[in-house]
Structure formats: C-alpha cells, structure tokens
C-alpha cells in the first residue's frame, strides 16, 4: 500500500524525458498526438473496443464529457494548480462562453468562429470584474466568493428573458465546416479533433507561461504569497492574470460546448460541474498537465462507462473519489518531485 502511494510515475517520466534529445522528443510528442487523434476509431477496433460506452457512442463521449472536461480542467489548473487559488465557481466562465454563443448565434446569426473571440473576451472580462475584488482576499474567502459567482451566473441566466429563462436557448447552430472537416451530429470525430486542437493549444500556452515570468510568479505566490510580495512580485496582478487566463479557457470551452449540444439551459451550469472539474484537477495531480488530463479523462469517462449501473453510478463516483484521495492524496501523477528535477537542471 505504502509502496503504491509513494511510487512516482511522473518522476520516472521526467527523468526519461530529460535524457532525450530534441528529435526524439518531437517524434514522441507527434506519436502521442497521433494516437490521441485516432481515439475516435478505437471503439470499432477489436482490441480496444472495450472502451465503447453504452447509450452514448464513444465518439460523442470523447467530445463531451471527456474532451470538454480535459479542456476545462486544464483551464482550472492554471488557477488552482499554478497559482494555488481555490476557485469553486469555474462553471461560471463555461456558462458565459456558452451563453455568448447561444445568444449571438441565434440573434445576430454569427458563426462559432466569429463568436469565439467574444466568448473568450466576455469570460475574461467577467474574470477581471470578479477577480479584482475577490483576489484581494485570502484562501477560503475566495472559494466562497467564486462559488457564489457561479450560482449568480446561473440564477441570472434563469431569470432573464434574453437567456430564455429555464427553457434556455434552443436551435444553436453547429460550427460551419472548415478545410473539409464537418462539425455536425454525423461527424463527432471531426468535433473531437477540434477539441483536441484546442487542448493542444492550451497545453502549449500553459507550457510557455510556466517557463517564463508569469509561471515563476505563480509558483512563488502558491508557495508563499507574503514572501512573493516581499520579493517584488506584484501578487494581485499575477493572480488576476492566472484567474483571467483560466476564465478564457473556460469561456472557449463554453462556446464550443454550446455549438456542439445546440441547446443550452441553466441546468447545465450547476455547482456540480465546478466541483467535478475541480475533482478532475485534484484527482489527476494538481499543477501537473499530464496528471490533470489523465484525471479529467478518467472522471469524465467513468460515469459514462458504468452507465449500466445507471442509478448508482454517482454513488460509485463518490466512493472512487474517497478511496483514490486516501490512497494517493497528491493525485495520480503528482508534480512535486518533478519541480525538484527542474530546479536541478536549471542550476
């Protein structure tokens, strides 16, 4: 048991990675991305057909929940994992993105690509408006404020006529075809590749940030905010940045989600979603991109896979959370030791 708890796969991985040269790394990354891109076909292929999910087809499950959850978990990871801010209302940004898509596409007739910058922009704006007062507070006070904000966005959507009240917004169009990729009901795999592209983009962005000034500032804030401030890090600005970038990813996921499911209603943006995404981050390994992706994939896939025990699946989900956190409190792929390796390398 203790051996299982102490075993650190990430450590091994980082050590191997450090030993490779640039060409090997590029090939490895391309192979991984290629394998991920082939995922939609795995349900039909004999050896991997056990992946298939009852009720919803595996291709659709790959888009939502798996792809969307990975995307949002990566976004939330910037907030919770990188700068250590507890955000319990991440669903708010997802909802803002989705409603931007819903309202603008049905009233202005714009398509998803035109709306995307606005969805991201509105999510970022609300991140600034919420973050400016909230980020001055510490720890758990931020948690309650974000939690409240998540509920507020849902309540406002429920009570305004522009958002269609409890009925929501029906008839949201799918994104138009690009380069021969068709994003409609008949082509879930194309949609998955779009989400995969977004995920890669976000990973790239996070990695860029992490090795540069913002990443170092977040790391300092997470470890000790007072010391970070003392050392000249403008903590409020950097906290706000991580909050707003997280919001942007959530908003983008929301825009995509609305154009995938075509109907949105306030019920889809409940507190449970925030909690689930946070669970993905912590379950996989806070602050570690690969851990977060793994955690989100498992937690999104599991309830779909065990739909045959339909009524009890959330019950099992709760049990899995308790058992896993007790066995591996730092998540499936923890980050701690990896940072030590990086420290050594830079020294």
């Amino acid at each position: 048991m203790s051996k299982f708890g102490n075993f650190n796969l990430r450590d091994k991985g980082a050590a191997i990675w450090a030993g490779w040269n640039r060409a090997t790394r590029t090939i490895f990354v391309l192979v991984i991305v290629g394998l991920a891109a082939l995922l939609p076909f795995s349900a039909q292929w004999g050896p991997t057909s056990f992946l298939n999910t009852p009720i919803t087809s595996f291709e659709n499950v790959l888009v939502y929940p798996i792809g969307m959850f990975v995307l949002m978990a990566l976004g939330l990871n910037i907030v919770v994992g990188k700068s250590g801010l507890l955000d319990l209302g991440y669903v708010a940004f997802f909802a803002i993105g989705a409603y931007t898509q819903g309202i603008m596409s049905t009233t202005l007739g714009w398509n998803t690509w035109e709306i995307m910058p606005f969805g991201i922009g509105f999510a970022m704006l609300s991140g600034v408006l919420l973050g400016l007062p909230a980020l001055r507070l510490r720890g758990d006070y931020l948690a309650i404020i974000t939690l409240g904000f998540g509920e507020i966005v849902r309540i406002v959507a429920l009570n305004l006529s522009a958002t269609g009240g409890s009925e929501g917004i029906p008839g949201i169009p799918n994104p138009p075809a690009v380069l021969g990729f068709k994003f409609d009901l008949m082509h879930p795999q194309d949609f998955f590749w779009l989400v995969l592209f977004m995920i890669l983009l976000v990973i790239w962005m996070i990695r860029r940030f992490t090795v540069r000034r913002p990443g170092r500032a977040w790391e300092a804030i997470r470890q000790d905010e007072d010391v970070a401030a003392l050392m000249g890090v403008n903590t409020l600005v950097y906290k706000l940045w991580s909050f707003v970038i997280g919001a942007a990813v959530g908003g983008a996921a929301g825009v995509l989600y609305a154009s995938k499911v075509m109907v949105i209603s306030p019920d889809m943006f409940k507190f449970d979603v925030s909690i689930l995404i946070l669970a993905c981050v912590v379950f996989g390994g806070i602050g570690n991109i690969w851990g977060v992706i793994l955690g989100a994939s498992i937690l999104a896939y599991l309830p779909e896979r065990i739909r045959f025990i339909s009524d009890a699946r959330q019950l099992v989900f709760g049990l899995v959370l308790i058992i896993m956190m007790n066995l591996r409190p730092d998540g499936l792929l923890p980050r701690k030791k990896r940072e030590k390796i990086e420290e050594k390398r830079t020294m």
């Binding site: 510490r138 309650i144 507190f271 009890a312």
Partner: protein, 317 residues
C-alpha cells in the same frame, strides 16, 4: 421593487428572518468549528444536515407512528416526542460528522496531505451520502407529520408570533450560550481553542489532537442536528437535496461573520437570515441569492476577515 412591504410587514419579516437566520447559524457552526481547528471547509456538513432532517422525520413518523390523521399531541407527550426527535437528529448528525472525519480527513491528515486532497475526499463523502439517500428515497420529497400544532401567541406590530418560530429562536440561543460557555470555560473547550491556535504547540502541551478534532466534528454535528430538527419542524418536509441550499447559505453565514469564530457564526447567520427575508420580499425570491452574494462581497471588501473574524493571515499555518 416593492418597498411597500417594508411598512406593512416589517416586524413579520424581521421575526421570520431571525428564526431562519438562527437555523443558518447552527449549521454554520458545523463549518466554523471544523474550520477553526483544521483550516478546512467541511464540505460534507450539508449532507449531515440532510440526514438530520431524515432522522427527525424517521423518529416522528416511524418510531412514534405519528401521521397527520392521528390525534393532536398535548403536554408531556408532545414535549417527549419533540425531545426524542431532537435527540435522534443530534445523535445521527454527531455520529455521522465523526464518521466523515474518520473517512475523509484522518488518514489524509496523518500523511500531511495537500489541503485540497481532503476537500475532494470530503466532496466524495458528500456525493456518496447525497446519492445514497437519493436512491433510497427515489428522489421523492417526504412530508413530515405535523407534530407541533402551529398555534399563535398573538400578533405584535402585525407579526404573527407562532410557537414554531418562537422555538426556532429560543433553542439556538440556548445552544449558543451553552457552547460559548463550553468553549471558554471547560478543559475540553480550552483544548479546542488551543488546537485552533497552534496544532504543534497543543501537541507539545500534551493535548490529544485526534481526540480534539473528533470532538470538534461531533459538536459541529450536534448543532447541525439541532438545526435539522428545527428545519423539519418548521417546514414539515425534506428531500435528498435539502442540504445543498442550506449548506451554501450556512457557509456564507460563517464567512460573513468571520469563519473560525463562534460568535461570528451566530451574527453571520442572523444577518444572512434577515437579509434574505427582506431581499426576497422587496426584490422577489429569485434575486435573494444575488443580493446575499453582493452583500457578502461588499462586507469582505471592507472587512476582509468577515464581521467578527480574526486576522487569518496571522493564524494561517
């Protein structure tokens, strides 16, 4: 906007608000006590409350077999039934809260794990309890029998002074007075305060940390149990998701008053209850949560540690 209610129903709204607020205060204790010693949000407390309401209902409807058709209870017998339901709810909640500590927190604490890990395991317990009750009750709301006939003492400034509202005001105040005395005067209470100040130093002084933490969860469970009993008596129904709204409101109350602080929970709950009543009367029920949130943000902007909070910066470990 409907400001005329301020004139016509002011006393009535204030009276109802105080009663509702004191229920919030009791549940808020479940958050604030635990936060005091562990610096962690006890996420499963809302489900402890939910099971308390079911315990109350079970004692009334299944042990005493009271239905709405059975004859009215009077005098000693009425007090006995209510007392049994109260004790039943308190015991169930206290045992459950201690179990939550055992399952979700103890092992992780022993390993010195990340605080978010305990948060997620507590959320796991919360989901497990919520879904368990949902499956058992098949998502149906259950009506509690009317044990206490809601006779009125009369009206004061237009407010109807009903027995259940009066009980909901008196019982929490008694609980708070007892608890306040316990925490400031007794040995065990002092050890709770010592642990909340510094776990390390308490250990050095020979305090059994695990016992104190279990005791804290137990006390939080008991007060939540009292709240669950009062809630069931006043609203006479319950459903598997009753804990969610209550949990958020109570946590907000705890933060508003200053989390980790007993009196903070009391005044925070009171303020929240009154605020909610007036906000829903003036703006309409659907904007209640929005108003509460706005007030919370404004309060935290000027008093970053809540109305009665200690400086978290200094006690942070």
């Amino acid at each position: 906007m409907n400001f005329s209610v301020l004139q016509s129903q002011f006393a009535s709204l204030a009276f109802q608000g105080i009663a509702l607020g004191l229920i919030y205060s009791l549940v808020a204790l479940g958050y604030t006590m635990v936060y005091g010693v562990l610096r962690l949000i006890n996420f499963a407390n809302s489900e402890v409350f939910m099971l308390g309401t079911f315990a109350t209902l079970y004692v009334e409807a299944h042990i005493f077999k009271i239905t709405n058709d059975s004859e009215q209870l009077h005098g000693i017998k009425l007090i006995l039934v209510l007392l049994a339901a109260l004790v039943g709810s308190m015991v169930v909640c206290a045992v459950l809260a201690m179990l939550v500590e055992l399952v979700a927190y103890r092992r992780l604490r022993a390993r010195g794990a990340n605080r978010l890990a305990s948060l997620i395991s507590a959320i796991g317990v919360s989901i497990f309890l919520l879904e368990g009750v949902r499956i058992i009750t098949q998502s149906r709301p259950l009506a509690a029998p009317r044990v206490l006939q809601k006779w009125s003492f009369g009206t004061v400034w237009g407010a109807d002074i009903r027995i259940d509202t009066v009980l909901t005001i008196i019982i929490p105040i008694v609980v708070f007075v007892i608890l306040d005395r316990f925490v400031t005067k007794t040995r065990l209470g002092k050890s709770i305060r010592a642990v909340s100040m510094s776990e390390e130093n308490s250990k050095l002084m020979g305090i059994n940390i695990n016992r104190v933490i279990t005791l804290t969860f137990c006390i939080g469970g008991i007060t939540t149990g009292v709240a669950a009993f009062l809630y069931t008596t006043v609203y006479e129904n319950t459903v598997f998701k009753v804990g969610f709204t209550m949990g958020i409101a109570a946590f907000t109350a705890a933060v508003l008053g200053g989390i980790g602080n007993l009196r903070g929970a009391f005044y925070g709950g009171l303020a929240l209850g009154i605020l909610e009543q007036f906000a829903s009367a003036i703006l309409g029920g659907q904007w209640k949560a929005v108003t509460v949130f706005m007030v919370l943000v404004v309060v935290l902007l000027f008093k970053p540690n809540g109305l009665f909070g200690e400086a978290v910066q200094q006690t942070r470990t």
